[in-house]
């Protein structure tokens, strides 16, 4: 029964975001058979998210100038001979093999080469009331507006850190939401460190101006050095408590004020989605500054595992321009492996330039350790297992301060998200200095929760 659930390709790509699409376009144009797997329901990834088939954005939802790259990329992708499998969750892999679940069925993709482009997800920092319905990640609000055309609410607060707050605010504004406040935890001075990355880069500069103009038009002022202290409400969020933080991100409780809202978006940067890479055995590195673990790639996007390449956020948070440039480069590296053709120098240079600019940005918005003081003793830190901060701290004190110790000591990180949400802040919360490298998560199959019968019926390698 599983015989017909096997696909063959020269290259299997995980992720149909800018990195995955850029790679796919080059490879397909060169005549290789390419299969792209994505858990979402349309190509685009996080940033170039498309509305469902049948809806069209003819200007109702504002788009920054960079999005014309996205349209071009998507147009080429749609016309290419790439096979795109949507709603496909990759749950197991080894070099040359990707197992995925689609519509409850178990599939295998056999391919010579793998390009990993699974992107990133929002970094969460727990605060009181963040489990209330209506409190979402910043990314979730973008998906709601740009991916589904749904209005998130009437009055919103956006809080967190990093360049992603801006697209979240503009998405809300497009949907007619009153953005009561936009709170950036970093100080304006710290953010200046991002300048070298922006100034040297025309695209980033015009992007920044575009966002500034959108906020100005709507009368939304970005408040530097502010964040969300907590949320309250009966069955859903109704009020947000906001206030100032000191330079290290510590809440200055005396500045707290309460505002009425019906939706909150919180995002403290992004975490690279490296699980698949770790499972394949790829080497990773800790980004100093506390931004998380990312896969290590060589100058042409090769991971440490033969025939496995990686591009985009999985190699470190960088945004769409980096993702596209690296996807492009990864494709040329694959072509080099298959056909022996040289990797164009310009392609390599472009990717390195974009990455350099992105790294400056990343340093400017590295997670502020003091934000971990937002959570109170009874704040749930692991949402899957309902573990409070006090319980996690007690576990760390007795069982040890490693991720493994906290996990076995209180179940934090054992639930269906497998510590993707709590993991990045768990060790910092439970007592270890937040700037130290956190432990690498130990991944196991299934990489995404799948049906028991999907595992049982997995086509043999």
């Amino acid at each position: 029964m599983s015989a017909d659930r096997v696909l063959q390709a020269d290259v299997g790509i995980v992720g149909a975001g800018p990195a995955g699409m850029a790679a796919a376009n080059v490879l397909a144009a060169a005549g290789l058979r390419v299969v792209v797997l994505d858990e979402g329901h349309r190509a685009g990834g996080q940033i170039f998210r498309q509305l469902p088939v049948g809806s069209h954005n003819a200007g109702a939802i504002a788009e920054p100038p960079s999005h014309h790259h996205g349209h071009a990329l998507l147009a080429t992708f749609d016309q290419s001979r790439v096979t795109l499998r949507c709603g496909a969750s990759v749950w197991d892999a080894r070099p040359g093999r990707l197992w995925f679940e689609q519509d409850g069925a178990s599939w295998l993709l056999r391919c010579r080469h793998i390009v990993l482009a699974p992107g990133a997800y929002d970094r969460c920092i727990p605060f009181p009331g963040w489990t209330l319905p209506g409190v979402l990640t910043a990314g979730a609000l973008q998906v709601m507006v740009r991916g589904f055309g749904i209005v998130p609410g009437k009055r919103a607060i956006v809080a967190g850190s990093g360049p992603l707050l801006l697209p979240t605010v503009t998405a809300l504004l497009s949907a007619g939401v009153h953005v009561v406040a936009a709170l950036e935890a970093s100080s304006r001075w710290r953010a200046l460190r991002a300048l070298p990355g922006v100034l040297g880069n025309g695209a980033r500069l015009s992007e920044a101006f575009w966002y500034a103009r959108q906020l100005l038009k709507a009368g939304v002022r970005l408040r530097w050095g502010w964040t969300i202290f907590g949320c309250e409400g009966d069955g859903r969020v109704q009020r947000a408590i906001i206030g100032k933080v000191d330079r290290s991100g510590r809440p200055r409780r005396e500045t707290a004020q309460t505002v009425d809202v019906d939706v909150v978006g919180a995002g403290f940067g992004l975490v690279p989605s490296i699980e698949l890479g770790l499972h394949l055995g790829c080497t990773s590195r800790w980004h100093e500054g506390g931004a998380g673990h990312a896969l290590v790639v060589d100058a042409e996007q090769r991971t440490s595992v033969e025939n496995v390449f990686a591009a985009g956020e999985i190699c470190g948070i960088g945004g769409a321009e980096v993702a596209m440039a690296e996807g492009h480069l990864a494709a040329h590296a694959v072509l080099h492996a298959v056909r022996g053709t040289a990797v164009p120098v310009a392609v390599r240079k472009k990717a390195r330039r974009e990455r350099g600019a992105a790294d400056a940005m990343l340093r400017a918005f590295a997670p502020l350790p003091g934000l971990h003081e937002l959570a109170q003793a009874d704040t749930v830190v692991c949402r899957c297992e309902d573990v409070t901060l006090a319980t996690a701290q007690a576990a760390a004190a007795l069982y040890g301060s490693s991720l493994r110790a906290i996990k076995v000591g209180c179940r934090a990180g054992m639930g269906p998200c497998q510590a993707r949400i709590c993991g990045p802040s768990l060790q910092a919360l439970a007592g270890r200095e937040p700037t130290r490298a956190m432990d690498l998560p130990v991944v196991q199959v299934p990489l995404k929760a799948v049906r028991s019968e999907t595992i049982v019926n997995a086509p043999p390698a």
């Binding site: 969750s89 929002d122 990314g139």
Partner: protein, 94 residues
């Protein structure tokens, strides 16, 4: 509540399903989570230990906060598209 969709994007064909035995009309291509958001149903599951209400957190299949039961099977509401006639129940504590 009405007007929970951004105007001017073009309407897609209606899809009817039930949520907690109540009829919901969504549009083809909606995820369950977003269809229910449009009808102001924010609570999708109850937490395991204390039954507190939980809803969409990441909206991209990472956090599993949106688990609901569709025709007896637990799925993520944000990655599962609506299908005509499906029965959706709150996830979590039965």
């Amino acid at each position: 509540m009405t007007n929970t969709r951004i105007p001017g994007l073009g309407e897609r064909p209606p899809v009817e399903f039930t949520f907690a035995s109540r009829s919901v009309v969504a549009q083809a291509g909606d995820s369950i989570a977003m269809a229910l958001w449009a009808t102001c149903d924010l609570t999708l599951r109850q937490s395991s230990r204390d039954g507190a209400p939980r809803g969409v957190l990441c909206n991209m299949g990472i956090c599993y906060e949106c688990l609901v039961v569709v025709d007896g099977v637990t799925v993520r509401a944000c990655t599962t598209l609506v299908r005509a006639g499906m029965h959706v129940e709150l996830g979590g504590k039965p």
